[in-house]
Amino acid sequence: MEMPAPNPAVLALKPRLVARLQEVLAPDAVIHDEAETRAYECDALTAYRCPPLCAVLPSTTQQVSDVLRICHEMGVPVVPRGSGTSLAGGALPTADSVILGVARMNDVLEVDYDNRFVRVQSGRTNLSVTGAVEADGFFYAPDPSSQLACAISGNIAMNSGGAHCLKYGVTTNNLLGVTLVLMDGTVLELGGAHMDAPGLDFLGVICGSEGQLGVVTEATLRILPKPEGARPVLMGYDSNEVAGQVVSDIIKAGVLPVAIEFMDRPCIRATEAFAKAGYPDCEALLIVEVEGSADEIDEQLALITAIARRHNPVELREAADEEQARRIWLGRKSAFGAMGQINDYMCLDGTIPVSQLPYVLRRIGEMSKDYGLGVGNVFHAGDGNMHPLILFDANKPGDLELCEAFGADILRLCVEVGGCLTGEHGVGIEKRDLMVDQFAPDDLDIQMAVKDVFDPKWLLNPAKVFPLAASEPRRQAQIAAE
């Protein structure tokens, strides 16, 4: 993956920059020692690393504003960072950038049950937002797999989803307002405790803009009353086609499960060897979960299992109690870890129209043979968000490149059948150069026009989202104008 060459003029500014940052931040909040900046050299896309010029850990919106104003004045790029769990390289530094980490900003600022929202500082982790309200019977719905570690700031940057968004939507559907700091230090309030934004929907644009338009320091999040209960059912089928048909039939029947998860044979075998959840050895496995009171769950599951039976499952297992429910979810939740036991893997995130599921799985199987790399599929079937896990050996020369080429082919396939490159992880650097496969030049230009408006100098989170060939001329023009 190509990254722009660091600007020598900016590298030379380091001593002066550090001195200015130290004027507005606590001494331990400016990290500039080369050994210490290494902690920020990558996120969860560990194949790419680059230590930043320095890292700052502000505690307040005012400090974030001060940092951005200083960097803006000095022409220094800034890479915002939540918890560093991005799988797309969304928080990968450049050598001439300042990492702005919000990890110290993790307070709950306001909890309002009457109006069902919570206001938090953006460094707070996803799971601890729910943690702040669950004793009172509420929860925050978006649940990315990394929810124990990932920060709300990153969730907003990538518009994160999770297993339960078929019913509850993704981050953007649960975000009511933000405090946003622009690159020049201007502080804006967008949205709030009321439901609709006046004027243009800037909140909707900020969510999913990968930290390129501003730094979110506080967020107002919608919270929901916890359902009375939830219960999964597991079903196994002999073919992906049939499993895909079951998903479609369940959706058409008018029940809306809270989650429909899908695993294919390679993934089932890997997780079974690792987690021993007692999954059947079959071509395709579905986990369908519904919510409500015990009676409501029975009613919905009766309908779902009737549909499942019509398609001759090789296995149909309803959870009778908590322990059985846990075992049904155990394999699914260990899937990534299990694949990691076999080999290094790369996790993709394309979305496809649900009807294309059998075709896409067959094509991935064929490509797997061509490339000679194994692949397991585990994904959110209800919304078509796939997570192919490609296995490779990081120590074998050329294997990473081969894996990336295979991944790119899968993502192009997703676009070709009417889907998209990324459903919930974001573009980052990982899918940046594939954007031309999904968007025409004008489609990218209008997105970059939004960037021009929010960050005219192109200093925030450089070299992400847009292909370098498209974004670098804009950025270089700004540098030249300085």
Binding site: D112, Y113, N115, G137, T186, G199, L200, G208, D383, Q447
Partner: protein, 377 residues
């Protein structure tokens, strides 16, 4: 102008010499009056693709809303955000189009549970002010590829581009619905009742107050609704005994609420979006004598206010804006005589920094300033 294709539309915009007044079915005459050549999207119509098993629908902007709702209903599905019909309350005629729904980000009572029009919008194609055909989003439910301009287009009232095609996530129509109706409630009691209901796990899909009645809607499968109606009524006992409304009567009731039926005939009309629990104090402050017609929706988060005549409208407008400034939220003057909509700010004025961003963004999307210029202020 009635372009019949995206290419025609692009050509019309690229060669336009002056301001264009963009409209779909022209049923939602909202915003500052625009003087310009009318440009209608009505001739670009038709459902492009509908996959019931994937819960997704793609349609051209000029497709009548009724046609989309009928196609969905034939498969037991619907647009979950319950778009209102503005015709009764605005006194307009014409055929509402799906493009108009998106341009005005129109949502109804179910917004309180499932979200707004913009939350179900998966993708959009549009022509910008330079005549470029552009697309953003797509037709799949989860998509974070690039910036989300789909949200930006929703509610931009044609000022950033002319929408040509939209795609939606749709949902199944539940088996049944029952509405609990509490009588003799004032706004304070109503909002407290609605807060208690919406904070329960019983999945309330409508929470409104109209003519002294607090109305709470529950939808779902038969047994489930029966159970939740009982459990919710039990929990809400402190707020009084509730009557049950169901069947056609319930459908009609919610359609009337959706369309702000209580305010039909008003010459001036405001729509107030605020924190739900602020609604009673807001009403007490702006209309202590209860001289305005009023309906509350979204559990308190949406207030409709109307006056029979336009007399004193400027004073009322100033009072509403002054009060909302102390609470947070916004006030839109949805209906008023043309002169008032020209002289007063129809949409809530934004703080300077936000307004500057909006101006700069409009300039990038519409460099010639020809798309509904001035409509949003």
């Amino acid at each position: 102008m009635h372009p019949t294709s995206e290419a025609d539309l692009a050509e019309a915009i690229a060669t336009a010499k002056g301001a264009l007044r963009i409209q779909g079915g022209a049923t939602r005459d909202i915003g500052a009056p625009v003087i310009g050549t009318p440009l209608s999207t009505e001739a670009m119509d038709g459902i492009v693709e509908y996959e019931p098993g994937a819960l997704t629908l793609v349609a051209r902007a000029g497709t009548p809303l009724a046609q989309i709702e009928a196609a969905l209903a034939a498969e037991g599905q619907r647009l979950p955000f319950e778009p209102m019909d503005h015709r009764p309350v605005l006194g307009t005629t014409g055929t509402p189009t799906i493009g108009g729904v998106v341009a005005a980000n129109v949502s109804g009572p179910r917004r309180v549970q499932v979200g707004a029009c913009r939350d179900f919008l998966l993708g959009a194609r549009f022509v910008d002010g330079a005549g470029r055909v552009l697309k953003n989003g797509g037709r799949v439910m989860k998509n974070v590829t690039g910036y989300d301009l789909v949200k930006l287009m929703a509610g931009s009232f044609g000022t950033l581009g002319v929408i040509t095609e939209v795609s939606f996530k749709v949902l199944p129509i539940p088996e049944t619905q029952v509405t609990l109706a509490f009588s003799g409630h004032d706004p304070a009691r109503a909002v407290a009742t609605m807060a208690a209901a919406l904070s329960s796990p019983f999945e309330v899909s409508g929470a409104a107050w109209v003519q002294g009645q607090t109305l709470l809607r529950l939808e779902g499968m038969e047994r489930s609704v029966a159970y939740r109606v009982g459990a919710l009524a039990q929990r809400l006992q402190p707020f009084g005994q509730a009557d049950h409304i169901q069947g056609t009567a319930a459908n009609t009731l919610w359609q009337t609420i959706r369309d702000a039926g209580a305010l039909v005939g008003c010459e001036t009309l405001w729509r107030v979006s605020l924190k739900p629990s602020d609604a009673p104090a807001f009403l007490a402050a702006v209309d202590p004598e209860q001289q305005l017609k009023c309906q509350i929706d979204w559990g308190g988060g949406l207030i409709w206010l109307g006056a029979q005549t336009a007399e004193n409208a400027a004073n009322t407008h100033a009072r509403l804006r002054a009060e909302i400034a102390t609470l947070g939220g916004h006030v839109t003057m949805l209906k008023a005589p043309t002169a008032l909509r020209t002289s007063l700010a129809v949409f809530q004025p934004e703080p300077p920094a936000t307004a500057a961003l909006a101006r700069a963004l409009r300039h990038r999307f519409d460099p010639k300033a020809i798309l509904n210029p001035g409509l949003m202020g």
